[in-house]
């Protein structure tokens, strides 16, 4: 490849970096002031793109019309941001951060389906930008004028935001609130107004970014999570809360990706390496390197001592399951084994789904409950397990061997991510796990030759012995039952106690000789393995898998199941999985917009039980022991 071609790609990378910076800057601003990481920020970007398309159609051609449509889109998205803040987040500022994040996740689902309803499933092609639709000759190569324009936009926004934050009264208020919310409010800063304004600004930036990106990339329904995952990587690399950091990180990531594309397929030591396919991996590598050297990002300060609010369930006494629990479990699984005798095939399939979901949710409960770590990308392990089993099976492995590979492969993925994850906590961890899951999803989605791309893999059926619905159900029941038993055992073994000790007080745990990071890392690996096993069972129960298997919405499903069932209750994953799977089945039959319906359910749960359902139930239960002196 020539140097000029490379330079061309770098310019392209700079243009992409601008949009990414706008999104990340908004995210960082909102976080700085409200301490909420807005998972729906990518959805605001997507809305910006779709709205710009609609306004473009309505306003017609011409320079003024085009730019009016861009600004109108940004303005409407700013209003949507204000509405989200006023209707939802305002009620959740005091809630545990896990629930804040989950709530914004609900918004993602609602916005996705709203976009589907309003604009349909087809991509919306962007307009040609009047006066900027030509190319400029640089070193004999044609460069789109619009790219050059975007390259300028990034620094202009950076300078404007910096001026706004450092030189205006509004900026002073933002900085005061970022430093110390309580003090700022005690000094008379009208917090409600400030939060609304910051949300409007942040959301407006995301909307603007989407509208500006439209001429380069058609508006589509996958934009939301793709963009938010990238924005998370950028903010984590740049340092959460730092606007210049976000700019720097967006530049670096934009350039590294451009470089990968520019390099093309290169022969390295006799092996052809297709760099363009590595762009997603490259992003992750950049993040890994930066976090290894600077755990708080390039320009980030160590996270302010956040009064991270744990769920009340994390402070309640966890009882070691006694004989009664063992008997109850035995009776329950005995009864479940009789199910094929009484229900039809449809219900058996649903029951198999519930069992698979139970194991998946239990693995998440393990790291969220005893582990105290938030995972927003747990589907990655589920999916890696499913794909590993499916691929092994299609390469001629017998079904039991293929199924056994599922937890091993998923554990490998969890070990890889866990290495970074255990250095982080709270919102950083949530952002990292989501970004990782999105990257895994993108790799599976794009790697046609191996994973079948968007079509997935088909023909993954168990051998004749297990081919019948009832026999596969019983097989699943046996495996899931054993796995749950094992998980419960681990949770109450010395390892599980050390893990809980690290969660309850990491300082104290270290002071009694517990290796906090190693313990949490192992927990990550274990949870990954169990999720992978669930994924393997899933693949053989469906006969086919698609990238949906490891998409973010599946991570949300598990999260909701855990929240429904409670972080501590042994039967929690089963109850949560049963309730949620049944609900989704009903919703899927009732409406095409089951995703939005799920989002609404999530929002309802969070708003009605701002301390978590498990916490609410814990308050209803009579206490076993007197707690006061």
């Amino acid at each position: 490849m020539t140097l000029t071609a490379l330079a061309l790609q770098l310019l392209n990378g700079l243009a992409s970096a601008s949009a990414l910076f706008l999104v990340a800057a908004g995210l960082t601003l909102i976080f700085g002031v409200t301490r909420v990481v807005n998972f729906a920020h990518g959805s605001l970007f997507m809305l910006g793109a779709y709205l710009a398309w609609s306004f473009g159609e309505a306003f017609g051609d011409g320079v003024a019309a085009h730019w009016a449509s861009v600004l109108a889109a940004a303005a409407v998205v700013a209003l949507v941001g204000v509405a989200i803040e006023a209707l939802l987040l305002k009620r959740l500022y005091a809630a545990p951060e896990l629930l804040q994040l989950t709530a914004t996740f609900g918004v993602v689902l609602v916005v996705r389906d709203a976009a589907l309803a309003l604009w349909g499933a087809e991509d919306k092609l962007g307009p040609r930008v009047p006066h900027l639709d030509g190319t400029v000759q640089i070193a004999g190569r044609a460069i789109p004028e619009y790219d050059l324009f975007l390259i300028v936009v990034g620094p202009v926004v950076l300078v404007t935001l910096t001026w706004l934050v450092t030189r205006t009264r509004f900026g002073t208020l933002i900085r005061a609130a970022s430093e110390n919310r309580v003090l700022a409010s005690a000094l008379g800063v009208r917090q409600a107004l400030l939060f609304s304004a910051v949300f409007a600004l942040g959301a407006g930036l995301a909307g603007l970014a989407g509208a500006l990106q439209l001429p380069r990339e058609p508006a589509n329904l996958n934009m939301d999570l793709a963009v938010v995952a990238e924005a998370f990587v950028v903010t984590v690399v740049g340092g959460l809360g730092s606007i210049p950091g976000a700019f720097l990180a967006a530049l670096i990531i934009g350039l590294v990706k451009a470089l990968c594309i520019g390099l093309g397929t290169v022969e390295i030591g006799g092996v052809a390496v297709a760099f363009p396919r590595l762009t997603l991996v490259a992003e992750f590598v950049v993040m890994a390197v930066v976090l290894a050297v600077k755990p708080h990002g390039l320009l980030g300060a160590p996270p302010p001592v956040l009064a991270s609010t744990p769920l009340p369930e994390q402070r309640t006494l966890v009882l070691v399951p006694g004989r009664r629990a063992a008997v109850a479990a035995a009776v329950l699984f005995g009864a479940l084994a009789l199910l094929p005798a009484v229900v039809d095939d449809y219900l058996l399939v649903l029951a198999t789904d519930v069992l698979v979901a139970t194991l998946f949710a239990a693995s998440l409960q393990f790291i969220m409950g005893p582990g105290g770590m938030t995972s927003f990308g747990h589907a990655a392990y589920f999916g890696v397990g499913a794909y590993a089993a499916a691929l092994a099976f299609r390469h001629g492995w017998p079904m039991p061997a293929a199924l056994a590979l599922a937890p091993v492969a998923a554990m490998a993925a969890a070990v890889l991510l866990g290495g970074f994850a255990v250095r982080l906590a709270g919102v950083y961890l949530a952002m990292l796990t989501l970004a990782f899951a999105q990257i895994v999803w993108s790799i599976v989605y794009q790697w046609d030759a191996v994973t079948g791309g968007s079509n997935g893999l088909v023909g993954i059926w168990p051998p004749a012995l297990l081919a019948h619905r009832a026999s596969y159900y019983l097989f699943t029941l046996a495996i899931v039952g054993s796995a749950l038993l094992l998980l419960a055992r681990i949770a109450h073994a010395p390892f599980g106690f050390a893990l809980r000790a690290a969660r309850d007080s990491s300082l104290r745990a270290a002071a009694i000789g517990v290796d906090v990071r190693a313990t949490q890392w192992r927990a990550f690996a274990l949870a990954g393995a169990f999720a992978g096993l669930a994924g393997g069972l899933f693949a053989f129960s469906k006969g086919s898998i698609s990238p949906e298997t490891l998409a973010i919405p599946r991570s949300v499903d598990a999260l909701v199941m855990v929240l429904l069932g409670g972080l501590n209750a042994l039967a929690g994953p089963l109850l949560g999985a049963a309730a949620f799977t049944w609900m989704q089945d009903e919703l899927a039959r009732a409406t095409d917009y089951w995703r939005a319906a799920t989002g609404v359910v999530i929002l309802a749960i969070v708003l009605l039980f701002p301390q978590g359902i498990g916490g609410a139930l814990a308050r209803l239960r009579p206490r076993r022991r007197p707690l006061a002196t």
Binding site: R315, L317, R489, A493, A511
Partner: protein
Amino acid sequence: MSAAPVLAVERLSKSFDGVRAVRDVSFRVSAGELCALIGPNGAGKTTCFNCVNGQLVPDEGRVWLAGVNVTGRPPREMALAGVGRTFQVAATFASMTVRENVEVALLSHAGHGEALLARASGARRAQADALLERAGIAALADRHCGALPYGDAKRVELALALAGNPKLLLMDEPTAGMAHADRDAIMATAAELARRDRVAVLFTEHDMDVVFGFADRIVVLDRGRVIADAPPDVVRADANVQAVYLGTA
């Protein structure tokens, strides 16, 4: 010839952003001795303390534990090398019973903290109950630790700190936040344990009644330097110390 002191801090220095919080600090604590580390706010107590417990790595100087150079080891390794500690704000495991708290510590020190399939609760019951007895909270064994009154939580911490049979016990403001009667009681427990088991104790403390009532020796810091290192009577009469505390020169 006497054995090496349990703790020897040797010419310790630590700066933050160019400000020298601790300069050239040296002192020793012997087995069975209660040594108080005191000084006005900003004198460098906490920095010094954190260099000994492993939370900070000193810029210069050495920390010796029973003749072994442990400078710069992280808290976990300090714990395994024989340093037990209590925190200024009592840190216990809120989701466990009092006995389980101690059992976790015992399992960890015994090297069994990683076992995946054994049973944890009740695993070291006798040993745990003996420790709770020593800390004076045997009656609370089955109580939910997260719901204990503060004074009791401090005692759970003491039991946790003793679980590894430490050579050195570090107590950061052991009586902070406690009622007066409780203060003397917990210090009396600590002092008794230290003398009986020949544990060296280093503690910081704001309450001068506690310091002069229980310390065998007092190290006084001011602006990062040691200005006195002597038994309570001598320190009480020291003109330098009086100047620092009373503001007269």
